[in-house]
Every structure is written in structure tokens, then in C-alpha cells.
């Protein structure tokens, strides 16, 4: 497929052979196919980014408004009124540093879980590895993340807090948020094709998950064996390590990140296999 399909005599060309047979049960992931279609992945991501804030008054500002205002509300109610501890960091910064990766995760999750149904027409009319659709949905959320992150840097400047050298780990922590979001997104998007119940579950799920993650409060509220175990929720690892890398808060969250990484990987791999298994039914059922 790599050669340009220009009109050279056909006989001279290497002809790729496609074999179509019914598949049964669990099938190979064929991630190389996704790589083969990377240009489509690029264009779909680009389309999502381009189209997202069209016909909105505030446009791309929405990417910032959501985490920023949540931070404001949290600061008033949890920081001021409830006086929840914040590991020695100003509470607004403490919660915003967690809300930035959280918003990325939650947004990617809701976008990807709805992505297959939203692309029903593509599913019914064109072949390509279906994995591209939820992946593109999550990739397009990265732009929002970057914008919200810039605001975070501005806030740090405002409070006079310099990031530590640990900031070099940040890409890994972002990747952790991405794989978690994708892992859950794969499960939910594949289920959503068959059961639209998923659509109604997602807002509830993210809300629940928000409070199950130490965003408004520090995980240091838990005593040790439990705190590490808390990392089974991969977003715990993400949020704690973001604060660690940027704000220098508390101790290195090594064990938590390890637990979170394993949990995230498990989610991603199981999600991939489940998605691939259900993939063949998408076009018929969606």
C-alpha cells in the first residue's frame, strides 16, 4: 500500500492481496494497521480540533473555563469553608494542578465513549481500523490540555512557585492519563454501540470518579498501605504525580505511580482486546 498509486502499468506493481474470512472469538490487536492508517488518524484528530469550538461565542476559551471555574468553586467551598489541607501549597494551585490532567482525562473519556456512535456513518460506509476513532477523540483533547496547562504555568508564576526538575517526568504522567482515558474509552465506546445506556452512564461515572480521585483533597489524608493501594484508580497516580512534578508537593509518589501504571495498562490492554473483539459487529449494530 505504500507506493503512490500513480498510473504506472499495473503489471509492474506489487499487488497486495487482501483475504477476508470470518473471525471468531478474541482476535489479534493488529496495531500495525492503525500505524498504516496514521494519516487518517491525523486528519480525524485535526477535524475534531478544528470543528470543536466552531459556532461558539467563547471559542477555545472553553478549554480553560471548565477547569478554571471548577478550581474557583473548589477553592471557595473546600479550601476556604471546609479548610481541607493542601499539602502546604496554596489551595487554588493545589486543586488546579490536579484539575488540568483530570479535565483532559474526563473530556477524553466522554469524547471517546461517544465517538463510535457519533461516527456511525463512517462505520457503515468505509473500512479502516476502527480503533482510530476513539484514539482520535482522545488525541484531540490534548489541545485543550495544553491551553489549560498554560494557565497553570501562569498561576504558578503568580504564586511564585517554580517547577522542580521532576517536571521532566511530566510527559510520562500525561501518557498515563491518556492511556487510562483510552482504556476506559475503548470499553465504553464499544459497549455504547450496542447499548446506548452507556451514554447516560458516562456523566455519572466521571462525576463519581472525580470525587474518588484526590483533586479537592490530598491523598495524604490516607495512611500508608491504603494510600498506595489507592493508586488502583490510575487517576490517583496521575494527579499526585502532577502535583509532585510541578509544585514539589509532598514526597515522591513512586509506589502510587507504579500501581497506577499497572492499573492503567490493564485497562488499556483489556480495552483493546474487547474493542477488537466487538469491532466486527459495529457496522451491523450501530
Amino acid at each position: 500500500m505504500a507506493q503512490p498509486a500513480h498510473l504506472t502499468p499495473l503489471a509492474d506493481m506489487e499487488t497486495p492481496v487482501t483475504v477476508i474470512t470470518p473471525s471468531h472469538g478474541w482476535v489479534a490487536l493488529q496495531l500495525s494497521k492503525v500505524w498504516e492508517y496514521r494519516e487518517l488518524l491525523y486528519f480525524l484528530t485535526w477535524r475534531d480540533i478544528k470543528v470543536r469550538y466552531k459556532q461558539t461565542v467563547l471559542g477555545v476559551a472553553w478549554a480553560i473555563i471548565q477547569p478554571f471555574f471548577t478550581m474557583a468553586v473548589f477553592s471557595i467551598f473546600f479550601g476556604r469553608l471546609a479548610k481541607i489541607p493542601s499539602d502546604g501549597v496554596p489551595y487554588p494551585l493545589f486543586s488546579y494542578a490536579a484539575l488540568v490532567p483530570w479535565t483532559f482525562f474526563a473530556h477524553g473519556l466522554s469524547q471517546s465513549s461517544d465517538s463510535l456512535v457519533a461516527s456511525a456513518n463512517l462505520l457503515k460506509k468505509v473500512y479502516f481500523p476502527r480503533l482510530i476513532i476513539p484514539i482520535a477523540a482522545i488525541f484531540s483533547s490534548v489541545v485543550d490540555f495544553v491551553l489549560a496547562f498554560i494557565v497553570l504555568l501562569v498561576m504558578m508564576l503568580f504564586y511564585g512557585i517554580m517547577p522542580t526538575v521532576n517536571v521532566l517526568w511530566l510527559p510520562y504522567f500525561l501518557l498515563l492519563a491518556l492511556t487510562t482515558s483510552l482504556g476506559v474509552g475503548l470499553w465504553l465506546s464499544a459497549m455504547n454501540v450496542q447499548f446506548r445506556d452507556v451514554r447516560y452512564t458516562v456523566p455519572f461515572l466521571t462525576q463519581f470518579w472525580l470525587f474518588a480521585t484526590p483533586i479537592a483533597y490530598p491523598s495524604s489524608l490516607l495512611s500508608e498501605p491504603w494510600r498506595t493501594l489507592y493508586g488502583i484508580n490510575p487517576m490517583v497516580g496521575v494527579v499526585e504525580s502532577f502535583r509532585w512534578a510541578l509544585l514539589g508537593a509532598a514526597t515522591a509518589p513512586g509506589p502510587i505511580v507504579l500501581v497506577s501504571s499497572l492499573a492503567s495498562l490493564a485497562l488499556l490492554v483489556s480495552g483493546l482486546f474487547y474493542f477488537r473483539r466487538m469491532e466486527k459487529t459495529f457496522a451491523d449494530v450501530v
Binding site: 474470512t21 491525523y42 486528519f43
Partner: protein, 445 residues
């Protein structure tokens, strides 16, 4: 290198359809079922079985044991009535859905066009949509860049290429979508009825472009309702019926076989066996015939003569207001006109059960020369429920004997138009000659 492009062996496809048929006996059963079935479904879901939100136990075979081969460079047409399995076959070849059983080999790069403009986004500009749509159809970015100007010129949208497509007219939108698709250059091209939309001139341009594709040694797999297009574009055609191959051969012969399954003419079709006749609970089609004034069934009609279309049907349940109607399509697939039964005896009146023949009389000197394809349908009025709706049920030729009495007058060359009414003409003239009063002259009618 073998000269087979597509090899299809024993391909079948099963679909789950329908809902739960049983009636609930008690509230307890209903409640129990309401609680249990989500669990059952969830169980099935986790086991990876394909079921929708409804309980899907009934199955149909959309394709049953289909085998054939297509040679490299062959242009093959697939025809058949709605539900014959054409689209399913195309979807399987395009890898959109998997076959239930069977084996398929495709030799060469495959491009499939089940729809034009797939993935077009109204907010994006023409240029942006071209890249997106190209990528969706499997074109490389470099390929689109190289053909960019050619595609834009083909679509005739140069001025608007940087305008969001939501501001396009529907014609421009379709032209752009077609243009991208027409520049796809795979070795095997799978095409659905996409050519049934858009304006006739542009469609012809696309058909020509596709014909070029065939001549360049590409294999084209063409599914269509457009019989003339099939007959002229494809050398070979396959007729599918209820998921099986009914006929495979020269396209002109297969098209003929399709149009007149049993009567030996394309101008009449009868269903002697009520079990096979199209119809609903209230009415059932029995026959459709094209005939002359004196009742003779004919597939060739003189352009000057009026022609009758009989729709014969049986009303099974009394008491409904019925509306039989028919559509006439020309060779380009354009709907020339539609007509519905306005006989005052039965209009707005419930009909008793019985056998009816509704005849539409199309006046002479109205239709254009060429083949007309008829769709015969019937619906109840309140509520509107279609009882039958048969496309391409009969076809007939309209010919002009060139005796000077048609709208052509004495001109015998090319003559366009979807209809050809014989109009009344008057011509006024004011002569240049001096001292003579203006003269009025008119051709005699």
C-alpha cells in the same frame, strides 16, 4: 501473477433481525423479564455476541453461499431487487462487515465508494474536506496534493474552495464529493449506487471517468439500480435474488432477465403465486402491464400514441382508502414524473376487498425517446402505510418514427429533454418590405 482480481468462495452472511414475538401473560412475567433481560443481554455482551438493544433471536440470510470470480480489468455489475443482497456483498468486499462464512481474496489495492462525501464536515472548507475525505477513502496525502488542482477543476468549485461547505449549494457539495471519489485510483474499485444522485450532466461526467477507469485495466465492481448504466458500463453482470446468484453472464442479457423475470417481455410482470407477490396486510400486487389503447401489452411505444400503465392488485381487507401510484424513471435514473390514481369513483373512498386494476394513461407526444423504468406502489391513506413499492417493475421503449408529427418536427438529430411535449407554436412576423402593412403569419397546427 494471476489474472483473477476477486475470488469469492461460499460467502454467506447472517443478520439478526426482528423483535420478541411472544406476548406477555402476567405482570409478574413482564416484570421478571424486564429485570432479567438486561442481565441476559449484558451476559451476551461480555461474551462478545452481536445483539442490539432488542432481543434478537430471528435471523435472515442476506447472502447464501455466493461464489464467483472476477478477472483483472473486468467491469462487473451486480443487480437485483431491494433486499437481494447486493449491498451486503459490497459491504463484505469493502471489509465494513464480516461474512458469516466463506473466503474472499482481493488482489490489488481496494477502493470502495459506498457513498460520496463520507466524513464531509459542514464547518470545514472545501479544501479541508477534500483532504479529510481523501484520507477516509484511503488516499495518501501526497496523492491528494498532486491531484488537488485536477479535482477542484473537475468539481468546478474553484472559487469556493476556501468556503465552508455548509454554504455550498447541494449541487456544488455533491460535485466536490464526486470529484474526490472519481480521482480514487485503486486497482479494484467497489461502487455502490452513488451515481444515482447529482445532476445528470455531472453524473455523466463521472460515468465517463469511471469508464476510463475500466479501460485502464482496473477492476470495477458496480452495484446499481440504473439498468442502462449497468448495460452500457459493464460487460458482465450478476443477478442476485434472495441472497443467491440467479444469473451470471453478459450484462445485456442479465439486465433483460432481471426486468422480465417470467413474461418474456419487459413490459409486463405478473405474480401468479400470491405468496411471492409484493404486498402488505391490506393490499397485494398482482401484475403490472404497459399496454396500448386497444389492450395489447407492448414494450415499444410510438411517441405519438398514448400508453396505459395497468397496476393490478388485490385488496385483502375492506374499508381503507387506497392510493396507487407510480414513478417513471428515464435512462439516467431521473424521475421524469410521478402519478397517483385520481379516479373519482374511488378517491377518498374506502374500498371493499376485491381485485382492482388502476390504469394511468400517459398522453402521446409527452414522453421523450428512450427507455422508461416504472416503479409501481400503493399505500393506504390514513395512516399512510406502504403496501408495496416495486422499483423497475416494468420498462418500455419510447420511439419516434421520424415521420415529422412529433415535437421534433423535421429535425432528426440529437434531441434532449426529460419530456417532449408537442407544443402549440405561434410565430409573428413584421416584414421589412416598405408600404405594406405588417403581416401576421402562423404555421398551421
Amino acid at each position: 501473477m494471476s489474472d483473477i482480481a476477486i475470488r469469492i468462495e461460499g460467502v454467506s452472511k447472517r443478520y439478526y433481525i426482528g423483535g420478541q414475538q411472544e406476548t406477555y401473560k402476567t405482570l409478574r412475567d413482564t416484570l421478571a423479564d424486564a429485570f432479567m433481560s438486561p442481565l441476559r443481554r449484558a451476559g451476551k455482551l461480555l461474551r462478545g455476541q452481536a445483539t442490539g438493544a432488542a432481543e434478537l433471536d430471528e435471523t435472515i440470510w442476506a447472502l447464501k453461499d455466493v461464489s464467483f470470480e472476477v478477472k483483472r480489468g473486468e467491469v462487473i455489475g451486480i443487480i437485483g431487487r431491494n433486499g437481494a443482497g447486493k449491498s451486503t456483498l459490497l459491504k463484505i468486499l469493502s471489509r465494513i462487515t464480516e461474512p458469516t462464512t466463506g473466503y474472499i481474496e482481493l488482489h490489488g489495492r481496494v477502493g470502495s465508494l459506498l457513498e460520496v462525501g463520507t466524513g464531509f464536515h459542514p464547518e470545514l472548507t472545501g479544501r479541508e474536506n477534500m483532504y479529510l475525505n481523501g484520507a477516509i477513502l484511503g488516499m495518501r496525502r501526497g496523492e491528494i496534493e498532486r491531484k488537488f488542482d485536477e479535482i477542484v477543476a473537475f468539481a468546478e468549485v474553484e472559487k469556493f474552495i476556501d468556503t465552508p461547505v455548509k454554504h455550498y449549494s447541494s449541487g456544488m457539495y455533491l460535485r466536490l464529493a464526486f470529484a474526490v471519489a472519481a480521482h480514487l485510483e485503486p486497482e479494484i474499485l467497489l461502487v455502490d449506487e452513488v451515481l444515482a444522485v447529482g445532476d445528470a450532466r455531472f453524473r455523466k461526467k463521472c460515468l465517463n471517468k469511471m469508464q476510463d477507469v475500466g479501460q485502464q485495466g482496473r477492476t470495477v465492481f458496480f452495484v446499481s439500480h440504473n439498468m442502462p448504466a449497468i448495460a452500457s458500463l459493464c460487460e458482465r453482470a450478476i443477478l442476485l435474488n434472495e441472497g443467491r446468484i440467479q444469473r451470471d453472464g453478459l450484462s445485456s442479457q442479465v439486465v433483460h432477465a432481471y426486468l422480465n423475470s417470467d413474461c418474456g417481455t419487459t413490459a409486463a410482470r405478473e405474480w401468479p403465486d400470491p405468496a411471492e407477490a409484493p404486498g402488505g396486510e391490506i393490499a397485494r400486487l398482482r401484475a403490472v402491464r404497459v399496454r396500448t389503447e386497444d389492450g395489447r401489452v407492448t414494450d415499444t411505444v410510438d411517441i405519438r400514441q398514448q400508453v396505459g400503465l395497468d397496476i393490478e392488485y388485490e385488496v385483502l381487507k375492506s374499508g381503507y382508502v387506497l392510493s396507487p401510484y407510480c414513478d417513471f424513471f428515464n435512462e439516467e435514473g431521473v424521475l421524469v414524473f410521478a402519478a397517483t390514481d385520481l379516479d373519482p369513483t374511488w378517491r377518498r373512498r374506502p374500498r371493499p376487498a376485491g381485485i382492482y386494476v388502476s390504469t394511468a394513461w400517459i398522453p402521446g407526444n409527452f414522453l421523450s425517446e428512450g427507455t422508461l423504468f416504472v416503479k409501481a406502489a400503493l399505500a393506504t391513506m390514513e395512516p399512510v402505510i406502504t403496501q408495496f413499492n416495486e422499483r423497475d417493475v416494468v420498462a418500455f421503449q419510447v420511439i419516434d418514427c421520424l415521420e415529422g408529427e412529433s415535437a421534433r418536427g423535421d429535425w432528426t438529430g440529437r434531441w434532449g429533454g426529460a419530456v417532449r411535449p408537442l407544443l402549440k407554436w405561434t410565430t409573428q412576423c413584421r416584414l421589412h418590405t416598405c408600404n405594406s402593412a405588417p403581416t401576421l403569419s402562423s404555421r398551421k397546427d
